[in-house]
Symmetry: D2
Subunit: 348 residues, 4 copies
């Protein structure tokens, strides 16, 4: 069978590099082009040194982008929506990894991003990229918008609880601990090593944009609010999201187990991690570096009814490139785990 011909637009950043790593090892895929204006004609391993020997691809300028079967867009936020019509002409299927098409509602977009969306009519054409919520739509989708990394960890933690009606009202507090790769390959004042090393920096205590995705996907009632905060720690990859949910005190641990099993029991990339003891009794992001897993665990305080849900992902994988490849697999009828089998490393 002919391989799926794909290209990556904006392939010099971390998400593009991770995507390229996965696609090069995918048995059904041929990577045709990877674009970068700044690095045009340079070998891709110049900026993705882990790909030395794995490919002799060179970056192409955007102007030379050719038609393919599927296009991945890894442009900086704002880059996809301005040129989306052109990209749609080049490929029948498009997966956008930026924030540009995540929100279905242009009013929400304006509120959280502070600008008018230039292509509001297309917002509803994109399927939101979390397969565990939208697998069925993805099977026939032309356009998919990968979810935000912190949104992914949060939504996957809360979705079964909300859907099952276990949490109905009140305030949910979500604390995200995040690594430095989240901010991308371009250095800035805050990513300077003497500043960023050893840090525990509350960089987004309120107002995190991914909150908009959480509201959209969980379809929260007006009685239920989700509050996100994010703290940067001395780690490159990985997210740990700790969600504090207040349940009716009659809800038992067993019910929570059943709820997660019902929604995720068959999911290839979600593992329920909750053991009585051990250093890895709850999800631990470092175990997930390079994998597409979202590990989810929880602890219930029966006295107060507080449920603490702990979810972990690799922000570049399940939070970006891995999620996108999983979507591609579904859209293309490939085994959903193709090119996503890596188990992760231990110790690390």
């Amino acid at each position: 069978m002919a391989k799926l011909r794909v290209s990556i637009v904006g392939g010099s950043g971390y998400t593009g590099g991770e995507l390229l790593r996965l696609l090069l090892a995918h048995p059904e895929v041929e990577v045709v082009q990877v674009t970068s204006e700044r690095l045009a004609s340079k070998f891709v391993h110049r900026v993705h040194p882990n790909l030395r020997r794995k490919t002799q691809l060179q970056f192409s300028p955007l102007s030379e982008l050719r038609e393919v079967d599927l296009l991945f867009l890894c442009l900086p936020h704002g880059g996809a929506m301005r040129r989306i019509a052109d990209f749609m002409k080049l490929a029948p299927k498009v997966i956008d990894l930026s924030a540009d098409f995540r929100l279905q509602d242009q009013i929400a977009y304006r509120k959280w991003y502070g600008v008018e969306h230039p292509a509001p009519d297309l917002l509803s054409s994109f399927v939101y990229g979390i397969p565990e919520l939208h697998r069925q739509e993805m099977r026939s989708a032309q356009f998919v918008s990968s979810a935000g990394c912190n949104a992914t960890a949060t939504i996957l933690a809360l979705y079964p609880l909300v859907k099952a009606g276990l949490v109905l009202k009140g305030n949910v507090v979500v604390e995200v601990k995040a690594g430095s790769s989240e901010a991308g390959a371009e250095g800035n004042d805050g990513s300077h090593h003497p500043v960023r090393a050893n840090c525990v920096r509350s960089f987004m205590p309120t107002g995190h944009r991914h909150t908009a995705e959480v509201y959209q996907e969980l379809a929260l009632s007006s009685e239920l609010a989700v509050h996100m905060s994010a703290t940067a720690i001395d780690m490159v990859r990985g997210i740990l999201a700790t969600s504090h949910v207040f349940l009716d005190r009659s809800v038992t641990e067993k019910q929570i187990w059943q709820c997660y099993r019902e929604y995720y029991g068959e999911e290839p990339f979600i593992r329920l991690v909750k053991e009585a003891q051990g250093n890895y009794r709850y999800p631990e992001p470092k175990l997930l570096w390079g994998t597409n897993y979202c590990d989810i665990g929880f602890e219930l305080d029966p006295d107060s009814g507080r449920l603490v849900v702990i979810s972990a992902i690799d922000n570049l994988m399940k939070g970006a490139a891995g999620q996108a490849v999983q979507a591609m697999n579904i859209m293309s009828g490939y085994p959903e785990t193709s090119a996503l089998e890596f188990s992760g490393l231990h110790p690390i």
Copy 2:
């Protein structure tokens, strides 16, 4: 004037070592003895290598402990309460750095520690060790019990809000990010470097014992609940506590500023850290390594009424040894900042 003669009981651990470091540099203090059974007759710099050249003290066995003016107890939890009568005979003043005398109520002690307190009559003799709350009592106190490190960071963050009536009801969620020195100098399975490095380990999602101290000191009404969670990160020293508090939406940022200024404006070791920009616009624990500061900042989400309070300390300093020296200074009429002037390092 004669120096204050002090000894440290249980001086081989991290808290004892930090205390010794401070006391050796204190202009009004003479360290008479430091005890350790295991290391008796060894030089203290064998386990506190930063004290090479700073002292020629050798560890003494407990059996040789002599009378002094003030005794610091740094025994493992449970060690002080069993022998407290003996210690009280040896010194008119005692500062205990363990958890043994933090709770005034033996029922609370039983609930959170799971054992009966052997000296319940003495519980009320100890002043809880946070000077910002109990300075007046400390001035004439014989016995002080230093607060738990996570409790200290949490209580100092919430105290003004609760006292001023800005927060009246609902759920407060406190997420503590903690370094490895919190668990002490004895290694265990979870402190093995390949396990503990790079970790983001939810080690106490519910049921944290320091919650009992928070309830005691904040005197919470039945309509207000505080929920603590703790996550271990790849850091040796330091705590960042993020407290999520839900306020009436009429409360303004200015009122919160005024509230903190009113309670802490004159405090030598509390700094309000909230700037419009910069990498250090909120409290950052690494800046506090070796200092006695508690830095407090906040961010209000006016839409939802959520207030995020961010507080940072060095767990071995303001969370243990520094707090104890501050108490000693108050009890002895010394300048409160004596031996606690270190500004911290940057970059680090």
Copy 3:
């Protein structure tokens, strides 16, 4: 074709876990048993949490070990040599990952390990496990002894230079920077996180045992000496070996390039990494986490004739489990890269 049936003896440590990770993903291999006395009947993912969902294997006690096609021994040093006769009865092929059969000469063994070897007659039956030096013998070998991790990084850096006669005499100084996983899964006083974090600990300035392997494999003349030192840094996986070699000043950079290309040009797991600029212009161990590569680069100081050779590996992969799988592939006629295709991650 029937799969190769293999078992791992001593599979609860880091090397055993890494080996299991690789073998589970190997298309030609069936893992029959993994032994551990302490953990007998427990699921292997209890200590290898990255293997959750990847296998339902449980540890077996040594007493239940069955016959297989190939046996991997991952026992603590000293464990293989005492029972080697038994192991040889259970499998026609054995790969030992300990130090027990690395040295061909019992006198060298006594000198460096301080004990008499209990099975000296078998020493010469084992092929030293670096494929780049012994591929031909491995093809028909029954017994292979995997090389020490620091020895591997050092030998691969120096082998072409010595063989080609570019370095003939004088002192070679090799400085190894090593991560904490080298010391194994059992914690000790020096692996306690508050001690091991941030450390730059000269733990073996002289007398490193792997020196014996370097002498054996490079067959150094009496005029040439290699001196190793090892420093522990705050890293879990990885080795960077910096070798300082003094050449005749007439030797050019081009000759050195040619030398390495001649010896390693066709090697699937050796990459020459030497670029004019960039953060990854020389080998960087973190890029190799989880891979079987040995990256080698160099810099020549033409004024002094000093050549600095920089080699990097993942100690658990090319320095242990990956090297062993590579040997198994060669011994079994499989593609040499089977199960070793992982490219490594970037950023990390």
Copy 4:
């Protein structure tokens, strides 16, 4: 007695900040001005957040620099030598912390820095800033040039051996492991956290400029060569220099001890660290963060005659600001340890 009035030219970087931290706590010193063009009129704690509450100083532009008793120059390399005549008019004493006046010989300067020195006549007016070598000259010096950080660690390790004639010929190899603060407060591509974290980057395998200082200060004979290499590791502060020296095999460990004791026995900031066991048996840079110590240890391999000397400093302290304050103390007749008493932290 009137305080010494000092100013810092170029005080927004790491060296300037560290210097300011020390000087603010110095009992005999008044800091008059700290200059920065970019930050003129901003509070110094904006970029030195550890100085919050410690000072209300604001940066001044260079044009407003006033006369003082002593001027510290912390300009980027090249900045001092171009304006040195102006600075000399403003203060009778100048301590330059850049590389501009470290080399006495303009030919050496040209060779290692690649440019002509604009003020060669002044080179010999500066005393090289390591007090252990030049204390006597410093007592009456007007101008001091602080030594390079890596040079300081290397020179202090080797000086007694060379002076005592224990090492006479051959190649000395010095491997420096260095933290990220060495490269300064300005971020660059290589200091981006995802790149610099977890790194073991051989950034200067040959050609390190500090080599010139080593040659100058050790006055090496033509038969003795020193070869430096530097590797960046995941650490902010600190240097560990490992020096490999080849001695006559008749030299004993006892002689080496005597040699170091003779030269450094009375030195307030040099500690000989060499114990039979323990995690801190050799120098460990993290123990020195914030201190002015240079810890020196060694291990002799009697078989080969190789001596491994291990020296550690905090690059911003003994390698820069601390060294400069020590020089100021000597130049001004203050106790040499004034403002440099900090013992360092443990654990950290």
